[in-house]
Amino acid sequence: MSTLVETDAETLLAALRGLLAAKGLATPAEIAERLAITEKASPAQGARIVAKAWTDPAFRARLLADGTATVEGLGIPMRGAPPLGVLENTPDLHHLVVCTLCSCYPRAVLGYPPFWYKSAGYRARAVRDPRGLIAEWGTKLPDTTRIRVVDSTADYRWMVLPLRPAGTDGWSEDALAALVHEGDMVGVSVPSAG
């Protein structure tokens, strides 16, 4: 590896910016366009998907069967993105997603992965002590609930469909979506109406 790569990162980016623009490999306009597209994805977008799945059984079934096509149907751009798989939590089974090798994350839906998801502590502990790990978020599951850790190692990206909280019968999709947070769709936390 060339020692030039050890140059300060901001300086390296500035140098590449000019070189790649001059060569037509990555122009400022192309970079700005991708950045804008990336910023449209967010946990709020994921929360809307979850709320729709809670209120529309046919949508829920399609989402679980083919996440990519189903969210595309909501207008979320998935072209070029890895396929999306959706993991349904039940009273008996709770999913926790991690990428132990890097930071694979359902970015097309949820946006940039959060800082903690990329950390060594999270990546190491999720597969070995999932209950101890989610306790950092104050999450405690019933003793009767099993945990399924999902190590996202390859070509899919995984999003958790959390359990709909009790006491939300008749709520609108908007009100339900407001209950759903980033961590709920990774499995470190669970939504609550309380």
């Binding site: 099993r146 390859a154 899919y156």
Partner: protein
Amino acid sequence: MDLAPGTEVRVKDDWPETRGPCHIRTPHYVRGRRGRILRRLGAFPNPEDLAFARPAPTRALYHVLFDETALFPDSRQGDDLLVELFEHWLEPA
């Protein structure tokens, strides 16, 4: 090789890290361990080749389920772990 859901498999106990530069998507903690096929996820170009810009033949990708206690003896009975593994890392158990 087509592995049906429920098939018992063993992950190869192979350590390409010891043989030179490589890029592999099979975590160290499942190698040599027994699990079972949950589903076939599809077929994708082999990342071990893509990482070096080599022609990448397509390989079947499986979702493989392991008992947590088979991976980490101190973990809780009943919990399990699901991981995406390529066919060339799997052999029938």
